[in-house]
Amino acid sequence: MTISRADVAHLGRLARLELTDDELDHYSTQLDVILQAVARISEVAADDIPPTSHPVPMENVFRPDVVVPGVDRDEVFAAAPAHEDDRFRVPRILDEE
């Protein structure tokens, strides 16, 4: 195993996902298969091959500092689960601040 149940539980907590014991087993096994597959790439990649962070070798793609109109608030709120006082309404987040 390259990823432990404890690791998966920790990732679950960071993503605010509540995982049952069965789910922890299930995802640990699945993620382990994925990680092993990815690890095989390291076997063929020599030290002089840097990890790829972007598939296309490009640099310095910029836009000019010009304001373009955004989207209408009502349109945005129509797609949101809840809103109040012109703001998005979200559940309170515990254990923060």
Binding site: H54, V61, G70, P91, R92
Partner: protein, 505 residues
Amino acid sequence: MSTTHDTMPFDQALASFEPVLGLEVHVELGTNSKMFCGCSTVFGASPNTQVCPVCLGLPGSMPVVNAMAIESTIRIGLALNCTIASWCRFARKNYFYPDMPKDYQISQYDEPLCSNGYLDVTVPTDDGPTVVRVEIERVHMEEDTGKLLHAGGATGRIHGADHSLVDYNRAGIPLVEIVTKTIEGTGALAPAVAKAYVAELRDLMRALDVSDVRMEEGSMRCDVNLSLNRPGDGWGTRSETKNVNSLRSVERAVHSEIERQAALLTSGGRVVQETRHFHEDTGRSTSGRSKEQAEDYRYFPEPDLVPVAPSDAWIEELRATLPELPSAKRDRLKGEWGINDFELQTIVNAGALDLVEATIAAGVDSAAARKWWTGELQRTANDRGVELADLGVTPQQVREVEALIASGALNDKLARQVFEGLVAQEGTVAQIVSSRGLAVVSDDGALLAAIDDALAAQPDVADKIRDGKVQAAGAIVGAVMKATRGQADAAKVRALLLERLGVSE
């Protein structure tokens, strides 16, 4: 959550411990559009009216870097004597909190755009100003977060709140984070060094014209990292105090954290590595969440953006745009105006340097320009709780008022009323002089009539003057000034009075 702590008096704390400081300053850049999309950045707009698919994190939207933000950051790095990276990437900082709708913030991690610089700051001490070099670890780019309101609770804070309301207008505004290396060896000066550093940084941003750096509006924010150690020991555990939103608070936050940690360590406790929140009203901080470990942010190179690789030619082009920096400017003006360190400090503290310079450039004598800006006008700004520059009085108007004083049409007392009118937006200098009826009474007939009235009212004083007690004239001159509501030239009244009584000096 604990809200109160025992503290140890500052001097006593410094006798046992050495403070180690680290400052992280966030500056919102003054670009027209956001960091990765074309939404407007104007402050104070109605909530969620400056948003689009990119800054709302909608699926399929793609960020594109604002060129101006890169230029501003490179200029900041150059002004801070940093090395500019020839190649660097953005990184995703993953965390779960609704202030970023993407569930991550685009930032920079191990490849900041600028690194290894310094800023020399002048710190006032009892023995006069001393220069402290603050080393800069890094200057990196990121995007600002949205603003949360915690609704339903009595205090507006999250504890007791039912739900939160989010405004994403600020989400995606370009943010530059400037991080110092650890600042050691400052001892009791630590609070003053922290304040002077942030003030110098603010002046630098203003000179570079990259941000409006209004701490009260949050366009410049400071986090204070502080730990204490006993001399000879290794570093202690640090706390990070957020929400420090004025220069005075920077100083107070360092001061109070030294007192808190010293009490804790002396009583056998230990400092917890945590985020603390500073409260303007009490000048104290309270405990917040325990800090997440960097690995919990699961940083990785941002796949939606390509690397930034500024060429040497571009960097040199930007270097050529650097203005005279604030420290060089202060040294120059100190020499030009022939003032000492303390006088300079008074002007700087009043935020009057540029205003005095512009007023002198408009043709006003240096002493008069300094007198108005650091005297009457600064008092008025303080009373109104605004920055001097935002008072509504311009260097040109000070010149107009000074010209009227020079011609004898106004005296200092009347001039103060003109400034009062300008602050109240009553019109131009000429309009205020006219509408308020402010003019020195120079008509000899009117002055003589007032002098006669004053002499008749105080015959004993009149006799004394006739007997040669010229110093008694002050009482009559005062009465005439009062009768003319200050609109007379006191020296002229005195001359007329003595002439009237046939007395010479």
